[in-house]
Symmetry: C2
Subunit: 348 residues, 2 copies
């Protein structure tokens, strides 16, 4: 039934027929023995995706409005037992995990060593997982799940060693959004002295993207936030050349705000997780410019039809969460910038 040769994408652990990718699979093979390019992690904590946890919480709230923590815990155990991975069947989402490297296959390309404390940067939705302690240390409340068990990484998985010099929760919080500054660095570097607008600039991915843009040579950075409270926060952090308030869902308001602050932008980075920001981001960007969509609320057709309807010659990128070296870059940006570090620390 299973393949004897491993595939870097983890296909050899997919039990579904016809074969699908691990993320799309109903069920993964969680055998403890490793294929030569795999790594096994002793799990210490699961970080459930926020949307997934909220769905579980809603489903298991009593009539009196109390969250039934035992029922939430049982639901998570059932999912992991049935699927061999933590992927909420309703939301489709997973999360990440923290643990210690337990065994490294002889042909693993990940560069990990036994004993390394790591966070996985690929989703739990495609990571083989076995829970061994019945989650007995978790009360079923909150997204942070203390856990004893093991997980398996494939040849093409991504895991980052948690640095010694930072609070582990701070590191995780940075790694969670490290794709955005990495791609921003790459795109801004293609322009000469770019004007860069970041929409949702006081958030985690937004603030790191602002700092990344400046380091990559941006001549002017414009941070767009929704209200005065975030404007004060961002101004206090000192990481944007200009701070402007605009509703990103209002295309005309967003365009006008960015233009008044020195735009239109050569590069616009959308980091705000609300639907309907495509038109404004396109209008705020110059011809020949680039929009990077990092929000999962982005609508593909709204972006494609919006640009066509506006005859806008802009390059639109689907924000890929993976760029080589992304975790190291994001941690370095945080270490080197007191303002962005304060923004992160106040969220812990």
């Amino acid at each position: 039934m299973t393949q004897s040769v491993s595939d870097p994408t983890g296909l050899h652990r997919v039990l579904d027929r016809p074969l699908v990718l691990p993320q799309a699979a109903q069920r993964l093979d969680t055998r403890r023995e490793l294929w030569p390019d795999e790594v096994r992690i002793r799990v210490e904590k699961l970080n459930l995706d926020a949307a997934s946890y909220r769905q579980l919480e809603r489903t298991h709230t009593t009539e009196a409005g109390e969250v039934d923590g035992d029922a939430v815990r049982a639901a998570v155990l059932d999912i992991v037992a049935a699927r061999g991975k933590m992927q909420n069947p309703e939301t489709g989402s997973g999360g990440m995990l923290v643990g210690t490297v337990e065994e490294v296959g002889e042909r693993s390309p990940l560069g990990l060593r036994v004993g390394d404390r790591v966070a996985t940067l690929v989703s739990l939705t495609l990571t083989p997982l076995v829970v061994e302690d019945g989650l007995e240390r978790w009360d079923g409340r909150g997204e942070q799940v203390p856990c004893d068990g093991y997980a398996v990484l494939f040849g093409r998985s991504i895991a980052a060693v948690i640095p010694d010099d930072l609070d582990p929760d701070l590191s995780l919080s940075v790694m969670d959004v490290c794709g955005a500054p990495a791609l921003t660095t790459r795109v801004v570097g293609r322009y000469q002295g770019a004007t860069v607008a970041v929409v949702g600039a006081a958030g985690k991915s937004g603030s790191l993207s602002l700092v990344a843009a400046k380091e990559a040579g941006a001549a002017r950075t414009i941070g767009v936030v929704p209200h005065q409270g975030e404007a004060d926060l961002l101004t206090g952090a000192g990481i944007a050349d200009e701070v402007v308030i605009a509703d990103a869902r209002d295309p005309v308001a967003l365009r006008d705000a960015v233009v008044r602050a020195g735009g239109p932008a050569d590069v616009t980075v959308v980091c705000v997780d609300v639907p309907g920001c495509e038109g404004g981001a396109i209008l705020a960007t110059s011809d020949g410019g680039t929009v990077i969509f990092f929000s999962m609320a982005t609508s593909f057709s709204a972006a494609a039809l919006g640009a066509e309807g506006l005859a806008a010659d802009v390059t639109m990128l689907v924000g890929n969460g993976y760029t080589p070296g992304h975790a190291d870059l994001a941690l370095r940006l945080l270490r080197g910038n007191e303002g962005v570090r304060r923004l992160f620390e106040r969220r812990l």
Copy 2:
């Protein structure tokens, strides 16, 4: 109520408050008089978007299974009268129109002259339209709607003059997909001797993209089609270096087919309008490569999470239907390639 100064995006004709872009508006101002940067077109024919027409047809089918053409016609007239544009409220889609330039505002940047026969390449969903003949020459069956009336183009609209040397229906059919070959040309030109895979290669946008890729310097083009019938068609057209059959929704099959034909690809162009092709397109593309998604069935989150889950360092582009000069490029490619021309002509 309305603005006295025009905006190139057409905001001055939006009657909704708060103000939204013309495409999102419930109602446009269809006054006959032009703002200085506008153009008025005498309409000859509407081409309804296929999804929109199918929805109208379904809604107005009698119990006996007959399409009630009068009811379909009445529905279109009602929409245009209520909204000042032809945008199906259910599907959100519009279509395009053909007509003759009737008046050109003194500051129009579109370069059109009175008497030019044109096709609009911006959607009907944002084009002010008045129907003056009650659509009396249309029986309510089919997407081609003979029509007398007028439409207005904005400063940033796009219209292409229909060439004299080609069948007008052939020109329209080419212009309908001209964004794909234009963006393919631009992206392939950034690589040295690229390997280019086109998924859905026997279709309109796919076949033009193959020819565009070759002209832009691709060293090898791979056309992916779903079955033997299309493989024969594509082989007969002689526009792909390699023709392979694969189900684009099966990531492993798509990857393996492209690799066997000389891949992975530096550039993968997705032109097939079925959901679930994101993973395969990513897997079929080399690290450092680019995937251009031209299918409206693309899921933003499937692309973003898919690439991250595969640790794939690929650039993913939202296929923008507008690139300057796109219509001229596509018509030139068609004129210069007998194979692609035959593929288009057999669809008329």
